[in-house]
């Protein structure tokens, strides 16, 4: 009994020290790869597409234009774009329930995504998946997944398949700090390690598993601290800095393609909005949210870098933002105009 009491006290103290998390504890050595202007523009464009798309999803939701829920990626754009800009078109990704950003970054089309979110027949999944299951197998998106940690098996299996077929492809498994406490992570990474699979595990540590700060439910300060125990190379990245993410993923991809095995990358990031569109984020302080928005906004950081290096002017970036705003509005119109699937289609697509 005495022992139990002691541990309670210890836990309390630890929790008090750790909340709220303001910034990653691990010191990250950010890298700035030497990228050409086209790549920088592409990355900037994709991040703005994600930001604007998600802002409009919130609007579509509140206007009652979509059924169900959505989990917004706003604030985390640097991770999806940093990762996917380092991949080839036929490389694989598995996404999470917060998947819109990954899909856009890997080449998903805004109109078909929006139609799917609205439950329409012309959506990516013909209205059978919705926000949490968007997939576009033609560009290697093996699906967003409604199960936390649901991508580990599929991504690792895709990496096994790529190795067996000697295709040169790699598979990226996006997962959150919440999924890092699922047992499947250990099981699948272990197999990627013993078989040297071309897999890259990207932990988007946005510091909250739903409403709970990850420090309260996780025995290590950083998810990447588990890398040594898994026998995998662990790397940390500044998730707000798409360039740093791009550089580190590029290294991991090169290694994987050469048969060097998997890498675990932890990218620290933050979601500006709640867990889902109906969550006001009561469990976080305004100061904390403000800190990330003001100091670590991935779009602003890349825009500043481009202006500083004379790749773009502020006016150029504004013009692109306006253009993308129009594209998202068109995607919404596409979705609104699309028909709902007729009920008999519920019985299609089950068996091949």
């Amino acid at each position: 009994m005495a022992k139990a009491k002691k541990s309670t006290v210890k836990k309390k103290r630890t929790v008090a020290k750790k909340i709220p998390p303001k910034a990653p504890r691990k010191v990250i050595k950010a890298q700035t790869p030497d990228l050409d202007a086209d790549t920088l523009w592409f990355m900037y464009r994709k991040m703005v597409e994600i930001r604007k798309f998600e802002e409009h999803v919130w609007d579509v939701y509140t206007r009652g234009l979509m059924p169900g829920l959505a989990h917004l990626y706003i604030g985390e754009e640097g991770v999806a774009v940093g990762v996917c800009s380092a991949l080839k078109a036929d490389d694989y990704i598995t996404s999470t329930h917060r998947g819109h950003g990954h899909c856009i970054a890997k080449g998903g089309k805004l109109d078909r995504m929006m139609a799917e979110i609205m439950g329409k027949e012309s959506g990516y999944c013909r209205g059978k998946g919705g926000s949490m299951h968007i997939a576009d197998m033609s560009v290697g998106i093996l699906g967003a997944n409604g199960i936390v940690g649901g991508g580990f098996g599929i991504a690792t299996g895709a990496a096994l398949s790529a190795k067996m077929r000697r295709s040169g492809q790699v598979a990226v498994c996006f997962f959150g700090d919440g999924a890092a406490n699922q047992g499947i992570m250990l099981e699948t990474i272990n197999m990627a390690v013993i078989w040297d699979l071309p897999a890259i595990y990207v932990c988007e540590n946005n510091q909250y598993g739903e409403h709970t700060p990850y420090h309260r439910v996780t025995g290590v300060e950083n998810i990447v601290d588990r890398a040594a125990g898994l026998g995998i190379q662990g790397v940390t990245a500044e998730g707000s800095d798409a360039l740093d993410v791009h550089a580190k993923v590029t290294t991991a991809v090169d290694k994987a393609r050469k048969g060097g095995g998997p890498t675990l990358i932890e990218a620290y990031t933050y979601r500006y909005r709640g867990h889902h569109v109906g969550d006001d984020g009561y469990y976080r302080t305004d100061d904390e949210v403000k800190f990330w928005m003001e100091h670590k906004d991935p779009i602003k950081l890349l825009g500043d870098h481009m202006c500083k290096n004379k790749v773009a002017s502020a006016a150029d970036l504004d013009a692109l933002q306006e253009q993308i705003e129009q594209e998202v509005l068109e995607a919404i119109e596409f979705g609104k105009d699309a028909p709902l699937p007729p009920p008999e289609q519920a019985y299609e697509d089950l068996y091949a």
Partner: protein, 324 residues
């Protein structure tokens, strides 16, 4: 037709499919060098090497998860789960991922995955190595469920399972591995969804799955001595299910007993009895009877275990009661 064992039929089908299609590979615990705990992959490691016969860690959720991802991306995995009980560790991968990913994506992918797993009590393996869990998977849309009852069916159905573009749960009753039977030498896949009349009869229909087919054939011999001719019908696959053959038989005989080794409540016998009661209602001379495993975990000691499993005496007794 040469006589071979159920086990040899499994090995033969696996070998021939691996020779026929280089995307087919086998993974599971001890399936490689050791040839499998039930010796169902003996010789395959030597023939195909470690790249196509993968010894996995003891991590059922993990490697079944990998098999799903591999199936989605151009491979045709066979994953062995050793004891069917271990499928419960991989339930998330089978039910939430394998069964649904095609549907959720609007038909964008296929999952040509065969999961081989065992069922069946009777060898004092106790509660966690003896369950017959096929009904659980038959409940899930998106999966197919196969329950062969003899070496020839095992070979033909396994070939079909491997060539199928959907996740297939292939149940092998471990008590049947040494059963010997004639198996055709030709490459003869057996189509899913076609029941087989294993013994023709006019007085009562015995619908039986997996090892219960053998039990019912024995029961039919005993009943024949009494002048009762039982028809034994084996659905071969639960999903898809050949309702037509089952219903036709019951309409002919007017009596039906459904025998399955899963726990009786909420199981295969309940589903089939319900279907037959509805589809053959006007032809039935008595309610459809059900015989399943007792509603307890499988006990260890033979004196406790054997009475929990359906046997020929119970089938005979049930038929006599039904017709009296």
């Amino acid at each position: 037709m040469p006589d071979i064992s159920f086990r040899e039929a499994i090995i033969q089908a696996t070998r021939e499919e691996m020779e026929r299609d280089e995307t087919v590979f086998l993974m599971g615990e001890d399936v490689g060098r050791s040839g499998g705990i039930f010796k169902c992959s003996e010789g395959l490691f030597d023939q195909f090497g470690p790249e196509r016969v993968l010894d996995t860690p003891i991590a059922e959720a993990g490697y079944i998860g990998l098999s799903v991802g591999a199936a989605m991306t151009g491979m045709r995995p066979i994953a062995e789960l050793m004891f069917g009980d271990f499928s419960l560790l991989a339930m998330e991968q089978i039910v939430n991922q394998a069964a649904k990913i095609r549907y959720m994506s609007g038909g964008q992918c296929q999952v040509p995955l065969t999961i081989r797993l065992t069922m069946g009590a009777g060898r004092s393996s106790a509660a966690q190595h003896s369950q017959s869990l096929h009904a659980i998977f038959a409940h899930v849309p998106g999966l197919k469920v196969v329950v062969p009852s003899c070496p020839a069916d095992a070979r033909g159905l396994l070939k079909t399972a491997i060539r199928d573009d959907n996740p297939v749960l292939f149940f092998e009753d471990k008590m049947m591995y040494n059963d010997i039977g004639p198996v055709p030498e030709a490459d003869d896949p057996i189509p899913f969804g076609q029941a087989e009349i294993k013994r023709a009869g006019s007085d009562v229909t015995l619908v039986a799955t997996s090892s219960m087919v053998g039990i019912c054939l024995k029961a039919a011999d005993i009943l024949a001595a009494d002048g009762i001719e039982a028809e034994v019908v084996d659905p071969l696959t639960l999903v898809p299910l050949d309702k037509e053959t089952l219903v036709q038989s019951v309409r002919k005989t007017g009596y039906a007993v459904v025998v399955d080794e899963g726990v009786q409540r909420f199981g295969v016998t309940g589903e089939l009895a319900s279907m037959l009661s509805i589809e053959a209602f006007d032809y039935l001379d008595a309610p459809v009877a059900r015989i399943g495993a007792a509603e307890v975990p499988v006990p260890f000691s033979p004196s406790l275990e054997l009475p929990t499993i359906p046997n020929e005496e119970r089938v005979v007794e049930t038929v006599r009661t039904l017709r009296s």
